[in-house]
Point group: C2
Chain length 226, copies 2
DNA sequence: TTAATTTGTTAGATATATCTAACATTTTAA
DNA sequence: TTAAAATGTTAGATATATCTAACAAATTAA
């Protein structure tokens, strides 16, 4: 006889990574399609197909053949709990362990799967129940509530206006190394001097009156306010 | 065609756990046998058999049919590196994150597999390059050097002598909770009043002149000096 | 020293997570 | 509105890590 233990509520490391990506894509583009997920997770579409069937059984997603993927409330809660652990870990690595914001993401990808509420409760406490991670991303609270903000990508900011950098939409090392080189960081105010129509690049003036140019690729990953 | 990537030097989480156990058993009993490893890892003997074949291919162990398991220098180095990460993690959790010594082992079992030398170098640095973990176990240095000490289990200490508790040979929560109840901790000096011949229990007098009795099971897991 | 017991190995099955090849459906373009 | 392209699914294979059942070797007891 075969006993299938459903393991309600908990997920394998792989399942956790899938639901996190499903949630992230659903935030960006509404509907999630198999091929996008496959690209994001560096797997082939059939792999996504079978994993989505599995997550559908767990009620983390709704999945009908050829109809795309929708996250359920349950799946959203799961994703936010992982995102919370990821962002708390990143802030801990920067604020307590004094690592650079460009090197913490890969470590947090591992720490987010540590199973121990004591560990995360202490991190949260030591950091003073923080609201944002080192990249300016909001940290969901223990109930999965997350701040909904009105930040825009820098490439959508108006010309001849001063904006404040409040977050980055990418926390990979290569991108953050590039920002470090340009001297751009969270909290910094910059004046948007010109947006080139041809290639989407943006010319900024920083607080030391120095002019610098960033490409569209970079501008769309910098989130600003005002 | 099939390309087998040997993945030299690195090990999966499972392989890491096996070599750690092989090393631990080899320290305790010299020769490691399949059934002991199986018991320790809560798997069946055939599982150990096939994993040992795999580790033998990686040159972490020597393994001949019916001849038992021997750790190689390479395997020992691997094991000590994992033990180093485990013990650094435990001390970090106690000293920096202020968790109790009885609750850190299970978290360290997960943290020891985090792949990031930066993470462990910073922990080491923050702790001031410590020599012992919260349970008194020596922390191997980055080259795998580990202190070889002359501590003995409390049940082997002489009667009518004062000894200092320097380590515990078990860091599971149930055992440490028990020590917490008895008020016994690392650094504490106790007088060995009597060792019962019948059941191996030990009667101690603590520094407040209070008499307390511990069973053989507990005494053999407390390591003392002098 | 044979027989019983313990210990170890092989063979074959199961579960997870992945892949490729073939086929099906949906969307887009002619 | 068909044909082509893009996207998704199924079937079947591979790799890892585990198991049970059957058998083999070594150890221990009678
Ligand atoms: Mn991140
Ligand atoms: Mn982040
Ligand atoms: Mn431990
Ligand atoms: Mn320890």
């Amino acid at each position: 006889m075969l006993f299938l233990i459903e393991n309600e509520g908990m997920g394998s490391l792989t399942e956790e990574n899938y639901i996190k990506s499903v949630y992230a894509l659903s935030q960006a583009t509404g509907e999630v399609i198999v091929s996008e997920l496959a690209k994001k997770l560096h797997v082939k579409p059939p792999t996504v197909n079978s994993m989505m069937k599995k997550l559908a059984l767990k009620k983390w997603v709704l999945y009908a053949p050829y109809k795309g993927i929708k996250v359920t409330e349950k799946g959203k809660k799961e994703a936010l709990s992982i995102i919370r652990r990821h962002r708390l870990a990143e802030l801990f690595l920067v604020n307590v362990m004094k690592l650079g914001w460009e090197e913490v993401h890969d470590i947090a990808e591992q720490l987010e799967h540590v199973e121990s509420s004591r560990f995360y409760d202490r991190i949260d406490e030591m950091l003073g129940y923080p609201k944002f991670d080192p990249h300016g991303e909001p940290i969901p609270d223990a109930n999965g509530k997350i701040l909904n903000d009105k930040r825009i990508p820098l490439n959508q900011a108006k010309e001849n206006a001063t904006v404040k950098i409040v977050a980055v939409a990418d926390d990979k090392k290569s991108f953050l190394d590039h920002l470090n080189d340009k001297g751009l960081k969270i909290g910094e105010k910059v004046f948007v001097k010109r947006k080139e129509a041809y290639d989407g690049s943006v010319v900024l003036v920083n607080k030391s009156k120095v002019e610098l140019m960033i490409t569209h690729q970079v501008a769309e990953r910098i989130l600003v306010e005002e």
